[in-house]
Symmetry: C2
Subunit: 335 residues, 2 copies
Amino acid sequence: MSNHRIVLASRPKGEPLAENFRLEEVAIPVPGDGEVLAKTIFLSLDPYMRGRMNDGPSYAPPVQIDAVMGARTVSEVVASNSPDVAVGDIVLCDAGWQEYTVADAKKVQKLDPSVAPVSTSLGVLGMPGLTAYTGLLNIGQPKEGETVVVAAAAGAVGAIVGQIAKIKGCCVVGIAGGPEKCEYVVKELGFDACLDHKSATLAEDLKAACPKGIDVYFENVGGKVFEAVLPLFNPFARIPVCGQIANYNASELPPQPDRTPILLAAILTKRLTFRGFIVSDYWSQYGDFQREVSGWIRDGRVKYREDVVEGIGNTVAAFQGLLKGKNFGKLLVKM
Amino acid sequence: MSNHRIVLASRPKGEPLAENFRLEEVAIPVPGDGEVLAKTIFLSLDPYMRGRMNDGPSYAPPVQIDAVMGARTVSEVVASNSPDVAVGDIVLCDAGWQEYTVADAKKVQKLDPSVAPVSTSLGVLGMPGLTAYTGLLNIGQPKEGETVVVAAAAGAVGAIVGQIAKIKGCCVVGIAGGPEKCEYVVKELGFDACLDHKSATLAEDLKAACPKGIDVYFENVGGKVFEAVLPLFNPFARIPVCGQIANYNASELPPQPDRTPILLAAILTKRLTFRGFIVSDYWSQYGDFQREVSGWIRDGRVKYREDVVEGIGNTVAAFQGLLKGKNFGKLLVKM
């Protein structure tokens, strides 16, 4: 028995390549006093991880070279030196990209599989769901009858943003990659429309889909989607800035002339509010979020989809696909 | 006796040229029932007027070709067909760039010259002062000990922003054009420092002047000042976007690569709040503003400076100078 883990071998320039990572086989660690040994069941892959691969200042420190890539996991306790956690308990912890971890028993969070499938604690009822809920409600502040545009609408965050905006009585237009995702977003998730960002006429398509302009844009993409959205903002529109996945692999600025003056002029003349946020800014709303979204899931008003990849050996390829929009739903690696 | 007025002869491309305007001599208009004839004493020149010379949608309609350029004025009533307004009253009205206007008596606002010099109703106690007060307090929300950076610090708005930020206990760094203005901003207005935006080392100068980073940036300039400010924002910094004077005459985008991704990444990772505003969004705070700022002027805590040009014939040149930062204090034309 051994532990397989993936470490950061070198920092990617642009797209992460297989050679930037190293799959290692090491001994299973031994828990000390007050610690547990946890075996990973599900590992969450999320776009923010691309930022952690870079050096330089950000809101969280980078992953060090030769260190295990970080990730939140759902794990099973297989050994415990704490009276508070029993073998067989299913817990949320931060094992990273590996099969086993030792964790402080005080820092793991027990999950109750009878309440919801445990994988949801990494998705709709976890960090991505909280991101959607808090960013939309605190910053987007959607009002009945307004138009809300959601990028990456089939993704773990976007899907929840749009469904909550529908519950709030908004007209909701998604943007996603390809006809299959767009169909899912409209037919399954109940958005009013969904546009394919691969369309050559995205800007025109979006204008047609938003005849009353855009009041809220949940920004997690950047790039050409953002360019299509910018001209359509109504006065006093709100833009929660949650991610910039289109730019995460960029190693150079776009060669087109600097459009910053256009953006600042729009902010000024349309009185736009752009506000960036990180989910950890809103931990205090976790209780409200869980209660409310769990209720909506039970009522069938919020649906979710998971894209589950099997085995640690497929983790790097799955993450590479995530940055290209190849996943369809919340991306998880099942061990 | 006749009325001299300046009309928009053609729309400027880039910098407004003398040929874009026409000085006309016309008959003095005759007030109807309920109207007054008002003779301009002071005419306010403000950067936003550049935007009104352009066609195309904005927050206010453009000035039509052959129409009188708009402006708020302090005027003396020289004829009245209303019992509410007497000949000799000094009023605030919207005469535009001309010597005489006819106005609805209900729409002029009487001024009391014993309370404050009437010119201040176009500056520190008028629209520029309200812009400074509401933008800083509602959006900037400066807290004691924070660092506030103010562009165009010797201008009608910036000077008031910085002095209010000092009253709120902040470290205040101004940016202005040339050593004379910078000296005035520090010695007269009491800012902690003021940097010359013409310096080749502006970015380094600003970094040195803001050792604890920037918490509030009152943005009314854009361009290279904004570029110098952007890297220095602290997490959760607030940026009221009030103007973009560096770009008002621009007819092309800057040729450098598109920096929008840098701006959006900063908004995201530093959780910045950019919010545009127009002074009219905050008319409801006019009473609080007047009471509070009048008090600060009486106490000597807020100082102001006016740059008075004489005669309607100098209006166009004065406005051209305003866009180049040639004025020193609130720019007024005295008839």
